[in-house]
């Protein structure tokens, strides 16, 4: 597959473009003081990618980006089709996605199609692995992804024009205006692809082309920020996106006529203030999504829509130099319609949460507690304890103990046939510990992190068919035990004059996520690895960054795993990327072969 793009960046405020290498940042207590306490998950290995990281990455959407960074296992039917994430052996619904601090997943499905999240509409991605339900609520069981928009970049015009194989055309325009009280950011996206790549359905088979896989995506995002006072800001974000997709045939199909339209409108209003000893943030969100699936061949037409209103308030107080406390509350109301619901479904969710951070010399401790209400569903108290301790300037230990939960989705509760209003929340405990080591000697720097984790989730929801029943219905029948090891090593050499940066990076994850209660339909044996959950994943890459040119090669390896019908063999993927930075304006040129 070939993909090439040109990015043109005209800065109204000159600044020098630094060489761009994907960065893994370690949050430290100096940098984070302005962030709300609940964004400071220092018990796990948080990864933050800023706007420059995102722009220089060739991924067009968040699904590709997470795959490229080997941060999560992305389950997808192929380019442009549904892509969901799995962190540490969790289900798609056990990954929480926040947009500017508000949960943005579909309340009907409990998950989000990551292929519909354009990278160009995000200024920062923060990936928090592990449980964070105490801080962020339902769904933050296996991992959380924050997609944030901010106004840190100077006034500028940014154009990304991309041409690729299979009639792929992508245009992304960003216009940033304002430097003082009022700032504006406008983003426009247009992307289309015929997506008719050739493939072989099995070894030795003649090559065929994927058919009926066109995608057309149009989107606009408008953001404003207004500084009311020196320490008070109002921000408003409006995001509308239309996606029309042909659904290509699966390997079991000879043809497909199915297509899907997704219409999403999202708005977030954020009021943020800082005082000498406190910060506060109030958010109001409105999300409306309409999804229409048609399959003319089987005479299926299914329409779903939901609207969610959400408000969230949190205030942090710095009580003492060593003590910080945060108190907050969040409430949401969702109304949803689906052809498979007997009536309009409603759901109210509310929660209060309290957290505190204590500094004892070099040791940082954090404790949090959340109480959630959701219609008549029972959710236990959700606590979290985490710590961070730098043993030496180079060697750090982090750890976290948390209880986490995921509330049933609207489809779990109201779908006909099968919906079960009596479902309980999935819940359980998780523990993790990370050792990290960083060292620099002259032109060389090394970093190594290893994380071990353990998680046991009770009342795991599975759609099952009971004897004498012709349909599946969700039940809290499973218990899933996930444990694993994640390792990451990075070695960088910077030439004396800084003109050449060489980086070698490798990661390896081992994951055992097993079903602990035998289930008959679907057939899951006790001790069996969950489906679509590879035990092993690895990646290795080398990059060379010159003044005006960059080259990188990455190789990804995914171990075998079980699908619904059969075992899927291990596969590997290689990608070569060439970047050029001509002097005229600030152009980037990319060439990607994968």
């Amino acid at each position: 597959m070939f993909r090439g793009s040109t990015m043109l960046l005209c800065l109204l405020v000159p600044s020098f473009l630094m060489s761009q290498v994907d960065t893994i940042l370690t949050l430290d207590s100096v940098v984070i003081t302005a962030l709300p306490l609940r964004s400071l998950d220092f018990g796990s290995n948080v990864k933050v990618f800023d706007a420059e990281d995102l722009r220089t990455n060739q991924s067009s959407n968040v699904a590709d980006f997470l795959s490229d960074k080997n941060l999560a296992f992305i389950k997808t039917y192929g380019q442009g089709t549904l892509a969901t994430s799995s962190f540490r052996g969790g289900s798609a619904g056990q990954s929480l996605v926040l947009w500017n601090g508000l949960p943005v997943h579909s309340p009907m499905l409990g998950q989000l199609d990551f292929s519909l999240l354009p990278i160009g509409f995000v200024d920062e991605i923060r990936v928090q692995p592990g449980g964070n339900s105490s801080l962020w609520g339902s769904g933050a069981v296996a991992g959380s992804i924050s997609l944030d928009n901010h106004f840190k970049l100077p006034p500028s015009v940014f154009l990304d024009f991309e041409l690729g194989s299979f009639n792929n055309v992508s245009q992304n325009l960003q216009l940033r205006l304002g430097r003082k009280k009022l700032k504006s950011a406008t983003r426009i996206l247009f992307e289309k692809s015929r997506n008719n790549f050739p493939y072989r359905p099995f070894v030795g088979a003649p090559e065929i082309r994927l058919d009926h896989a066109k995608i057309l995506q149009k989107g606009v995002m408008q953001s404003f920020e207004y500084a009311l006072r020196k320490n008070q800001k109002l921000a408003f974000h409006f995001w509308h996106q239309d996606t029309d997709r042909e659904i290509p045939p699966l390997l079991t199909q000879t043809e497909s006529l199915a297509q899907q339209q997704d219409r999403a409108t999202r708005m977030a209003f954020i009021f943020k203030g800082e005082k000498s000893r406190s910060i506060y943030e109030w958010k109001l969100g409105y999300f409306a999504e309409h999804n229409n699936y048609q399959d003319e061949k089987i005479r299926l037409e299914s329409a779903n829509l939901f609207t969610t209103w959400m408000t969230d308030f949190a205030q942090d107080w710095i009580m003492k130099p060593w003590l910080r406390i945060s108190l907050g509350t969040t409430h949401s109301y969702t109304g949803a319609r689906a052809d498979a619901y007997s009536d309009r479904a409603h759901e109210y969710r509310g929660a209060i949460f309290l957290s505190s951070r204590v500094t004892i010399r070099k040791l940082l401790l954090m404790a949090a507690l959340r109480k959630q209400w959701a219609d008549n569903q029972s959710v236990p108290l959700i606590p979290l304890l985490s710590f961070q301790y730098p043993v030496t300037p180079q060697f750090m230990i982090r750890g976290k103990l948390s209880r986490d939960y995921r509330l049933p989705t609207l489809n779990d509760r109201f779908w006909i046939p099968g919906g079960n209003p009596a479902l309980k929340a999935e819940n359980g405990w998780s523990q993790e510990i990370t050792f990290s080591w960083d060292k620099s000697i002259q032109d060389w720097s090394w970093s190594y992190q290893v994380t071990g984790y353990n998680r046991l989730i009770h009342d795991w929801i599975i759609w099952t068919r009971k004897d004498g029943q012709s349909f599946f219905s969700p039940e809290n029948i499973a218990k899933v035990w996930s444990r694993g090891l994640e390792q990451n090593i990075k070695i960088t050499h910077t030439s004396a004059e800084g003109s050449i940066v060489s980086t070698l990076q490798a990661s390896y994850t081992f994951l055992k996520s097993t079903n602990e209660i035998a289930v008959t339909n679907p057939l899951l044996a006790k001790g069996q690895q969950l489906i679509y959950t590879p035990r092993q994943q690895a990646s290795a890459g080398f990059s060379l960054q010159l003044k005006k040119m960059g080259f990188s090669y990455k190789h990804f390896l995914t171990g075998s795993y079980q699908g619904i019908d059969q075992n899927l063999s291990r596969f590997d993927l290689g990608a070569i990327e060439l970047n050029m930075f001509p002097i005229l304006f600030r152009q980037h040129a990319h060439l990607l072969l994968s």
Binding site: L250, Q253, I298, L300, P417, D467, Q469, I564
Partner: protein
């Protein structure tokens, strides 16, 4: 004299081994429609057979048997689940029965044990097109290469005195196991299946198996169609009529401890209760059109209440939880 003896023997033979054909034509289905039991009738009676239906009013879902006059042989998928690939009943008749056999489908013989001589069988349009072309859940038979040894088989066993027979009759609704791909086939016409070797039975049980399976069980759509079921009977006078004006009401349903059975009009005050295998659980007599059936000792499952006299039957099903 010889001619007289011949006609006497012929008459006696007809009397002793009279055949009754259940063809469902007594049901007044409109053309190209179906009856999936949404009226709560609990099943369908034709000739000497009763085809149980389990319909969930809460979820509008059914299991067991439906009656159909659907003619669609072109539309793939679940929404065409009631059609037969032959486009009609056997011999171009209008009505036929469709089984949704996620679990074994049962054909119950009414008025005591009987021998089923045979029946006509055919694939539904949904499984036929699924096996021919593949779909979102099921593979194309033969696989991409055409060489996968796929099969879709129905086994028929009998229940007699509450015991399931070990003998069975197998029928391949599709068979791609031959080394010669020219011999691969998917049944698309009504085909007669001789069931007489099974002998006398209380009920027959139909099981479907496929080579295409996953963790959710069989991927091939679990449907088949039958028509013109021939039973052998001593009596020549049997015929079945559904009495629209007679209706059995069962409450509560599903039930845990008791079921209140009521009928405004009666064919006969005596009712019989059968389990899914056709085994009679008990008989009871309606008093002033009512009877309270104690089901505390019944195992969880589907049961049928049947009211009958010599020529007419009415039934309703209930679930013991």
């Amino acid at each position: 004299m010889k001619t007289y003896l011949f006609f006497l023997l012929f008459f006696l033979t007809k009397l002793l081994f009279a055949q009754t054909i259940a063809d469902f034509e007594e049901y007044e289905l409109s053309s190209d429609t179906f009856n999936n039991g949404s009226d709560g009738s609990g099943g369908f009676i034709s000739g000497n057979i009763f085809l149980p239906n389990d319909y969930s009013l809460d979820f509008n879902a059914w299991l067991g048997w439906a009656l159909s006059s659907k003619k669609d042989t072109m539309t793939p998928g679940f929404f065409n689940q009631y059609s037969c690939i032959a486009g009609s009943g056997n011999d171009s008749s209008q009505n036929y029965a469709v089984a949704f056999a996620l679990e074994p489908a049962t054909l119950k013989l009414v008025q005591g044990p009987k021998r089923v001589s045979g029946l006509y069988i055919c694939n539904g349009t949904y499984p036929y097109l699924s096996m021919r072309d593949g779909d979102s859940f099921s593979k194309k038979f033969g696989g991409p290469s055409g060489n996968d040894p796929d099969f879709f088989i129905m086994t028929v066993k009998k229940f007699s005195n509450g015991l399931l027979s070990t003998d069975s009759i197998n029928f391949y609704l599709a068979d791609f196991r031959s080394d010669n791909s020219d011999e691969d086939y998917i049944i698309s016409d009504w085909t007669y299946l001789d069931l007489s070797p099974l002998g006398e039975a209380d009920s027959l049980q139909f099981n479907l198996f496929s080579s295409d399976n996953g963790i959710f069980g069989m991927n091939t759509p679990a449907y088949f169609c039958i028509d013109q079921i021939v039973t052998e009977d001593l009596s020549t006078s049997l015929s079945s009529t559904i009495q629209d004006q007679v209706k059995l009401d069962l409450f509560p349903n599903p039930a845990t401890t008791f079921v209140q059975i009521s009928a405004e009009k009666q064919l006969n005050p005596v009712i019989s209760i059968y389990d899914q295998t056709g085994k009679m659980m008990q008989t009871a007599t309606l008093i002033e059109g009512r009877y309270t059936l104690d089901v505390q000792d019944y195992l969880p499952g589907l049961y049928y209440v049947v009211m009958e006299n010599n020529t007419k039957y009415i039934s309703a099903g209930f679930i013991k939880q």
